[in-house]
């Protein structure tokens, strides 16, 4: 490719990126405006008097910190459980020899196709009967169950490419099956595990519908509810609404910025092998 085509391509991408990010730029811009400035005719507006109060409202009335801590707790436990279960299931499906293997594998993979929304109603009834609604576990269990099928799928694909010689030499050295899985296979599958962790993070961190069905206690609510808190009482205070949306988006973007290389690597490994 010549230098000039490269420049054209670069400029083209820059324009597309700006267009694509425009909604977010607009959101940030308007989060600094007072509500009556919203109706001016300009598409973007330099805030003459930046409304930091909007962010204070967002932090305080959006109950940002409490919901953030809940999100961290629910998401990290879910990720931990998903990794352990996907790893052990993946190993059992690729290496272990047992009769019901194909049936169970199909059943787990069905989880990728069955929409959670279709199981939402009976789950609500079951969780209510078991006393799981309005508890952290009431979110952690379904989040893990939803994440495990994809995690298992990614890991089985990856594990098939690991040579069995690894395990053979470990057995010669006297390692038992648990040491093999957690100390030899787990580190070898690290790139796939990162993909599992990141996809699980993105799904759970931003999940809303299960959380809003299973939770009614304010003390347990997760980050998306910060935004929902502004739907009623602040419905005309757009500046604060926009500020809370900006605040809510920041943690996920930061995590993504830190792990973006691993996401691509993980997906690439998956796509090439799958």
């Amino acid at each position: 490719m010549t230098k000039s085509t490269k420049t054209i391509l670069w400029v083209f991408f820059l324009i597309v990126a700006l267009v694509q990010l425009f909604p977010l730029i607009w959101l940030i811009d308007f989060s600094f405006l007072s509500s009556n400035e919203f109706y001016s005719s300009s598409v973007l507006k330099w805030p003459s008097d930046p409304q930091w109060q909007n962010y204070i409202n967002a932090w305080v009335d959006g109950k940002f910190l409490r919901y953030f801590i809940n999100s961290v707790l629910v998401t990290s436990v879910t990720i931990l459980l998903t990794v352990i279960l996907s790893l052990t299931l993946g190993y059992a499906f690729t290496r272990m020899q047992w009769k019901l293997r194909p049936i169970f594998f199909t059943i787990i993979l069905l989880g990728i196709m069955i929409p959670i929304h279709a199981t939402l109603l009976p789950n609500f009834a079951i969780f209510k009967a078991l006393g799981l609604t309005d508890s952290y576990l009431g979110l952690i269990l379904p989040y893990t169950a939803v994440s495990v099928p994809l995690g298992t799928f990614i890991l089985t694909g990856f594990m098939r490419s690991i040579p069995k010689a690894m395990e053979e030499s470990a057995v010669v050295d006297g390692a038992n099956i648990y040491r093999i899985v957690f100390q030899i296979i787990a580190p070898l599958t690290a790139p796939a595990l990162v993909t599992v962790i990141v996809t699980t993070f993105l799904n759970c961190w931003n999940e809303f519908i299960m959380a809003s069905t299973f939770l009614s206690k304010d003390a347990l609510k997760t980050l998306p509810f910060s935004v929902m808190n502004f739907a009623g009482q602040y419905s005309s205070d757009y500046g604060s609404q926009f500020a809370v949306m900006v605040l809510t988006s920041i943690p996920a973007i930061v995590i993504y910025a830190l792990f973006n290389e691993q996401i691509t690597k993980g997906v690439t490994a998956g796509a090439v092998k799958g």
């Binding site: 279960l85 059943i107 929409p115 279709a118 079951i126 209510k128 931003n206 996401i263 796509a271 090439v272």
Partner: protein, 296 residues
């Protein structure tokens, strides 16, 4: 070695927790859903009578909303396949050719909408498309296209297409990433060989990239249909199916039937049909696309 792989205790410990959890949140609920779908339950736990297939016959033969929701899913899925995916493939190819630091940077930027919470996406687009202060209409105004100004999500003739637009914006990064990953798996020497044969530019990609990407495309088409069928949160938080059912989807419909209309039994019948439709769609799109996939 065989002894290690046959360790029954280990197999049990590895498989049982996962299967138990999966059964608790998927299999048992489906069975329970099937049970409720044959009853005239108003809300979970209330007494109800067995009514046979009445919910199902009502749904399949007298409920136009059900069919509308299905039609909308198909239209949305087609929108993904015909608009989002070609754009994603085009950008993946261009990104791959750009190379260097810029490739990495743009790839990162294009994915940003994918990490943003669905609640934020919904509320943000609701504002962007707002008829009075939304940026979209203001932009049309400043371009001298003020006559196109519209209540985009509030008008039944534009609501579904606006929804498609929002979902393409939000999901574009994933599609791009998958195709990009697929491209990275195509060996360079194939391109060299083809360009020696005189193919170049568009023809080169049409003849080589697209066929070699076909395994990825197959999976992506299936995923697009499923994504369209599963559509819920964005719709729920923006239009809630309206105006006039123009953005109705099965998941939104069943949710509202269960929790707003107090027709829990009926909603469960929708759930069961919903699951059947999803499994059928996966099976069909797999079968249709696999047959002409190129092996390499």
């Amino acid at each position: 070695m065989q002894k290690v792989f046959n360790n029954k205790m280990a197999i049990f410990l590895f498989v049982f927790p996962g299967i138990l959890l999966f059964s608790l949140t998927f299999l048992v609920p489906i069975v329970l859903s099937a049970y409720y779908s044959f009853r005239d339950t108003l809300s979970p736990g209330t007494p109800s009578a067995f009514i046979g297939f009445a919910n199902y016959t009502e749904l399949l033969f007298h409920d136009s909303r059900f069919w509308l929701a299905l039609r909308n899913a198909v239209l949305l899925g087609l929108g993904f396949i015909l608009i989002q995916h070609p754009i994603a493939i085009f950008f993946a190819i261009m990104l791959d050719r750009l190379g260097g630091k810029a490739e990495k940077w743009f790839r990162t930027i294009f994915f940003i909408p994918c990490v943003i919470s669905v609640v934020v996406i919904s509320k943000m687009w609701l504002s962007l498309l707002d008829p009075t202060f939304g940026a979209f209409n203001k932009m049309l105004d400043s371009l001298g296209l003020g006559f196109l100004k519209h209540a985009w999500l509030g008008d039944s003739s534009t609501a579904l297409i606006s929804m498609l637009f929002i979902l393409i914006w939000a999901g574009f990064g994933w599609g791009l990433l998958f195709y990009y990953a697929g491209l990275k798996g195509i060996p360079d020497d194939l391109y060299e060989a083809a360009s020696l044969d005189g193919a170049s530019g568009f023809r080169l990609h049409w003849r080589i990239t697209v066929p070699l990407l076909s395994p990825v495309i197959t999976v992506q088409i299936t995923l697009a249909m499923i994504t369209a069928l599963k559509q819920m949160e964005t719709v729920f938080l923006t239009t809630n199916g309206g105006p006039g059912d123009s953005t109705q989807f099965l998941a939104v419909y069943l949710y509202n039937k269960a929790f707003s209309a107090s027709q829990y039994g009926y909603a469960n019948a929708i759930s069961i049909l919903f699951i059947i439709v999803c499994l059928l769609a996966t099976y069909l799109s797999n079968k249709l696309t696999r047959s002409d996939a190129t092996e390499f």
